[in-house]
Symmetry: D2
Subunit: 345 residues, 4 copies
């Protein structure tokens, strides 16, 4: 059982709830988030239900949920959520294109990629300043210099920025620059990081782990939610299977399945799943047709010089086709392309 | 190196080729198919190229192909093939809907399912008379009685029939009734069966094995082709991965990847990959958007009474939506729904 | 529910059972095997239990088993079985080494490999006359010529022979030459083949499919058993996973898990799972330590010239170490190396 | 190319190396570890080899390694390493048993488990104070209180302690209490954590990720090594595959494969791979027979009350059999059980 305290609830009100539960033989643990406090109860649920907790001062909601992911489940929240990133919506009704370079390399490259993204219809800019790499000898990203470049390019083009954070203790720094924080596939079960972004006050893009079941993915989102942050977007980006023809195997069924289980938006990354430029467009079309709430795509002005994942970045020639597809497909299933933030504001 | 003999080539002409190769220190093996004879050469390929084989009587083509699947590769056959089943095309330009019951149970159920399929836009009727089942105690299909029902329903509704064959020695029998023979996922590497359907003179629907790489799938098609039958349609139907949320994981990327490697058409089975009714429509839309050459879908008039795979069969209420989707999506990528055979003829 | 008829039961006695079940609203299907007849019942099990079937003439056993694999389950057969192949035991108490060439190529090579196997402690000779190969252009085995070579070598060295059959209709032929028939990994769900070997009157070595769950493997064994043949040995030979460092991933836990579920013996093939010579000895030691009832190992007098799977064949230098291990390890867990057949007789 | 500086090398000497490389058009990055400084070079390796770097002051070794894991590879370090944990060796020649409770719950439970471990032959005590759990509502460990309990029990029983760290910023704290730091399977690619333990001055136990290839596992070890810490022990603990009969699939081949690629010791965790008590002993025997340098096993005085992973913990009755096996099997392959630390000191 999970108790969600009202936004303005006092510490005393929360403590009173904990005390009632303790007297009933249960234990309660408190997660104070930026916007709300969550109290998780462990013990005799049937007994707790007799305690009248939903009438106590400061209590907003008492959730009894049968699935292990309480706050992100659709059980108590049948309406699918819309998450806003710098004013840009991600959720039902829209299809939001996020695009940009895999890694921020230079101001020029980042700006060029952002303009490419914008021409294709992107409303949000992606770009990595911290790159988790399999090898310690590979390019690890520009760090804070990269964040500054992203912030400058946001000014120039008017697109809110999504960027990855790889260390819990970088969360405050990255939050100062970014509009949305990404937790990457290798960190999906880095619980310290999940809890840190849960308290950052910014929306979170949570990529599915390479070998995570859908339930584990939702449990990872629950770690973020439990710290009071429900502005979470899930991203399917390919799973690891026996077949190595593609970099990873895009689990396209994960979109309707996850959308049935959680109220959070679910988007697809066709670039990292396919790992090859020529697959990005077909997989993007499939993602829109299956009902994904958005797409996140690598673009690069000169992929052959890219410091990271060049072979999967779209180039200028591909953009016209992408621009066409992101306008043509969403209406087929009752959605429209999310407008760029500059237009929104 | 592979030598394709001309349709009317005599045995003497084939033997002459074998003899030339043998004198050059190589070995040749002959596959006599229904419509053509294939001679595979093993040995010093560079030497064989000096023998002037392509000028010998009866030789239609000499193929030197770098990939291990010679006849089905796009290397020597860049144009994608159109396969015709009882007059209905499967290939680029069209999107062909195949639908019907998982298993043939009764004449009434089969006819009702066929009419449902036809209303949804299906041009071909599927239905199983021989069912490969994990348990020897499960319903194994009606056998020849089922084939007769299918033939009767074909008469009644004017749809050519696709049905599975599970034993090499049933191939002649099944060929008498069916317009297209299906090789199921468990039999993808049943080489005796592949060779038998290679000689049957009817088009073949080859499902991908649950754990087959794309190369192994194409090699299985090569077994069929090598017996002289190039009327093969490949069908992606989900692979087995660590995630058991869905029955299998639809590998949607396999469509563009395989279409890049082979000239054969590639279709998708959204029913068996998802294993759940509510996933069939989203996955069908994704399949059409990614560029699949067709769909094969389970429908049943009363799934709760189905003897096989009821939970994934579409019911009457779903059909209007499917009927809309199969007309709306193909034009988005320059295709049109393949017309029913009765209209074709 | 499954009814096992006594060895000498008449057709009339079997028909009487079927009739009783039919009157009670159930349906029964009969599998007539070489040594016994099995009647499977489908319908209201609780009702069937009131019919007194176990007292009817000709009925040996009435099995009500909760798992889907009835005849091979340990539920009604807690004692683990010993299967005899030409007099050589495979089962608890012993550790049986089966060795020989992957493929039979020539009489000389087969004889040399058999002598190598025997020196290492092998009691049974393996060797393939029919080779299921991914490519139709690869060496497919010598067929009946290979079977004759195996039979001659058996005469010469006194080792019973295990060999693969790939087509249901070759079963009578292969049964004339072999002491045990192997069903390979790609054919684990070739149900026609399973039923054919179920009626062959010879013991069967059933390899686990590359992606088969343990339950599916036992269900495949049930197909054989249902035709009256319970002389089945299961063989774990590696499964397909994301990791391609080894050819396949040996699932060593499958041995104790399967031995807990079925009374049939379970052996390990370290050659095909590892795919590399240097892994065969460590994996063989692990297999014996985990409690496998046997090992099946590739040996070849000149692996660099082998027509099939040379890189994994043990050579003469490895044999002394293998010979030592197969004598030293089994006693550690209360077993002894199964003696060669010539000594048994 | 990687340059390992001598233990006492000055910053000026390191800077001089960097400067030489920069003049030759390359770039160098410095990792200052506790015991040594590593300089990684990126650029024209052939050119670097002409610079006489191995003769420069302060340079201990210049490694040119073809594989991507430079410092942990066997290429330049053919002798397998022995890592010492509080005086207890892990490496070739010995088989080291690590045992203890999955989670530290109370002083009594931890002491009881430690005594069980010791009786079974364990030289090192395992126990978790920080537990990474799939659910945020599950028991997360006692934190520093747990570390204090472990330290007290170490005093009482004389066994050095291995414990997990889940957050990079807890590394200094955990290092004060533990003799060896464990990085868990979910954190294998938490690069911030890997780098932190690389600088902690204590040996590291690095578990393989659930879906990590062997190369990725060695690259993770390289992250630790690059920070100057080569006291790393690798632990295979089961991978995720399609088969869910066991909790995970123990990849036993990973031991000889990894031992061939790296000089670091490789141990096996049979408790977490099998996930069931009755598999622990057979898998332990297999692990020793395949040549693992050690075992890490869960024991618990009362598993039915365990807060974490009770079903896989060995109980008192199993210990005699384990105690026998860890003494009997290692000598079979030329090893002996590593003696407890109290005897070592």
């Amino acid at each position: 059982m999970v108790i969600v305290m009202a936004p303005g609830a006092s510490d005393e009100e929360t403590d009173a709830v904990v005390s009632i539960v303790a007297k009933a033989g249960g234990s309660a643990f408190i997660s104070r988030g930026v916007s709300r406090t969550i109290v998780g109860l462990v013990g005799d649920i049937d007994r707790f239900q007799t305690l009248g907790l939903d009438g106590k001062p400061g209590v907003a909601e008492v959730l009894r949920v049968s699935v292990p992911y309480k706050l992100v489940s659709r059980e108590n929240h049948p309406t699918r959520s819309v998450i806003r990133v710098g004013g840009v919506p991600i959720g039902p009704g829209t299809m939001t294109l996020i695009a940009g370079p895999c890694a921020v390399e230079t101001p020029q490259q980042t700006l060029a990629a952002a303009r490419m993204a914008q021409r294709a219809g992107a409303a949000l800019l992606r770009g990595g300043a911290y790159k988790p790499r399999t090898s310690p000898y590979a390019f690890q990203g520009l760090g804070e210099d990269g964040l500054r470049i992203l912030a400058d390019v946001r000014e120039a083009v008017g697109m809110p920025v999504v960027t990855e954070v790889v260390d819990a203790h970088d969360v405050p720094l990255v939050s100062r620059y970014a509009d949305m924080l990404q937790v990457g596939t290798r960190n999906m079960q880095n619980f310290a990081l999940l809890q840190a972004v849960g308290g950052c006050g910014k929306p979170v893009l949570l990529k599915r782990g390479l070998n995570a079941t859908i339930e584990e993915w939702l449990m990872a989102a629950e770690y973020v939610a439990q710290r009071g942050n429900l502005d979470i977007v899930l991203c399917e980006r390919g799973i690891r299977t026996f077949d190595t023809t593609t970099r990873n195997t895009l689990d396209i069924s994960a979109v309707p399945v996850a959308q049935g289980l959680t109220h959070l938006p679910v988007i697809i990354d066709p670039s990292h799943s396919g790992g090859r430029r020529e697959l990005v467009l077909p997989l993007s079309r499939a993602a829109m047709a299956v009902g994904a709430d958005g797409l996140i795509i690598d673009v690069h002005p000169a992929p052959e010089e890219a410091l990271c994942d060049g072979p999967q970045a779209l180039v200028a020639d591909d953009l016209a086709e992408l621009a066409h597809a992101v306008r043509a497909f969403p209406p087929m299933i009752g959605r429209q392309l999310a407008a760029a933030a500059s237009l929104v504001a």
